[in-house]
Amino acid sequence: MTCSEIESRLCAYRDELLPPEEKDRIEKHISTCVQCGKALADLKRTADLLRDLEAVEPPPFFAEKIMARVREEAGRKRGIRRWLFHPLHIKAPIQAIAMILIAVSAIYVYQKGEPEMRKTTPLPAPIAAPEKGAVTAEPAKAPSHTADAAPSGRDSALRSLEPVRERPSAPPVAKPGKEEATAEFAAPHRKDRQPVRSSAALDGEAETGAVGQETPRGARDREDRTGPVGEAATAASEWKMMRRTGGIATGESAKAAVPAVPPRSVAGTPLDLRMRVEDVTAAVREIEAILDRFGARVVESRRLGQSGFMKVEIAARHAPAFRERIEGIGRVDPRNNLPAGPDGKVTVRIHIVGNP
């Protein structure tokens, strides 16, 4: 047996784990080999040092600290279980009934809630362009909001808080002259004689930059279509294209889309606007004042808690200006403007929601 073999077995030898014959051989070797004898002595000293290491004592109240945490955890677990289920024969039926009540209440709230909670706002219907005579080149200043409209506005605001009812449109107190109104409504429009795009379309132009140069053919086609029906169809098709593309169609594409859109009555599909305002009552009052000025007719007005609802009929050519005015009262969605149309009525449903 070599020294390295002996050394690898010294631990087992010291622990008396070797068979007797191997133990004898190691003892004989150690008696004659100084190096292996020293290795065994070092091993014994190492074991003695480990054995003599001082045992550390737990700090004072160590067990109590541990048990405090254990009891806290045990109490929490037991408390939750007890709170939820004990006594089971009483709490289980209560929990079942509560669940049923919650489900029924949720269904009831969903069914009886505000209309905007149940359905999405339909997109505005296409409106034909206003008659050619209404389009002027010069942007004119808007009619001033005079104080003489206030009394009528206050009365209508009070009326708006009453239950739903039909009432005729109030005559405007300070009705702007034809030229003034024409200039106001035409302000954002183009100077040429092309059919007027809706201001929504113009907004789309400004925001997206999607409008290309109109081709001569497109412009010629537009001019060829004379008469209110043709212009209405053009405007309707542009509106449709704008809805599809998020911008405004080029002349070519607008032309291509014309046959697909049948002429529609401007008073057909109502337009939905959603307003978010600070004070619903004040907003209703101001909207009614504006409506009075445009000679619009309030078909329906009602108040639902922190929100209000108005259904109005307004001349289509006044629609863009109306939209601009009510934006001064609060945030209006959707952001695209009401489409301008020819003479005719457009129905607008305004959902007024107060900020929480």
Binding site: S8, C11, R45, A55, E57, A63, R71, E73
Partner: protein, 216 residues
């Protein structure tokens, strides 16, 4: 001797593999499973010192060892329902303590790497944290100081061992566990335990050899 090599299984005086596991703590464990915290308190009082010493030798830091033991007992309480009783409660608890000590030491090592501090610095012993225990032996201040320094160097050498070697050294040579118990705690056969222990002793002997000249 290579890492994978194992010594043949030789009958161990302390080997009780073939005997049925008789556990003095079985009754307390049964009560703990029913949520009896007093039964668990008795187990804590019984095992706290031994477990603390294992944790202390594994971590080399008294405060860390206290944290490890608190977490270990809390963990044992949470999972006492999973304890099947096929080993002694103390064996099962030792396994939890070793696991906690391993993760604690790993966290501390990461922190030390970040802060540039050595893990093997036996600050507790050198700073005289255990002066009271040593005074009780009636030794002189010079002897106490010498013993404290010696313990610090031994602990430093233990700290330099591999994690696996340190575990078997602590369990066998410091705490006196049998090979069978160590095998049950570490979930390995006796032969592996022995070969690992002998390598650990050899490494420790090499580390401590400079001290032997100073020993009386």
């Amino acid at each position: 001797m290579t890492e994978g090599e194992t010594l043949p299984d030789i009958p161990d005086p302390g080997n009780t593999r073939n005997q049925s596991v008789e556990d003095d703590d079985a009754g307390s464990v049964t009560r703990c499973r029913r949520g009896d915290t007093e039964a668990f308190a008795s187990l804590v009082r019984k095992h706290q010192k031994r477990m603390l010493n294992i944790a202390y030798r594994m971590t080399g830091d008294y405060d860390d060892a206290c944290d490890v033991i608190q977490e270990s007992f809390l963990s044992a309480w949470r999972s006492i329902g999973k304890f099947r009783g096929d080993a002694r409660f103390s064996t099962w608890l030792t396994g939890i303590v070793l696991n906690r000590a391993r993760s604690h030491r790993a966290q501390r090592a990461a922190r030390a790497r970040r802060d540039g501090i050595s893990l093997d610095d036996p600050a507790d012993i050198a700073s005289g944290k255990f002066e009271d225990g040593l005074c009780a032996q009636g030794t002189s201040p010079a002897e106490r100081l010498e013993k404290r320094e010696m313990e610090a160097r031994v602990q430093a050498c233990i700290g330099r061992l591999d994690e696996e070697q340190r575990e078997v050294i602590v369990l066998r040579d410091i705490q006196g566990f049998s090979y069978e118990e160590i095998g049950a705690v570490l979930k390995m056969p006796d032969g592996t335990v022995k070969s690992r222990l002998f390598r650990a002793r050899s490494a420790l002997k090499d580390c401590l050899r400079p001290l032997f000249g100073d020993l009386k």
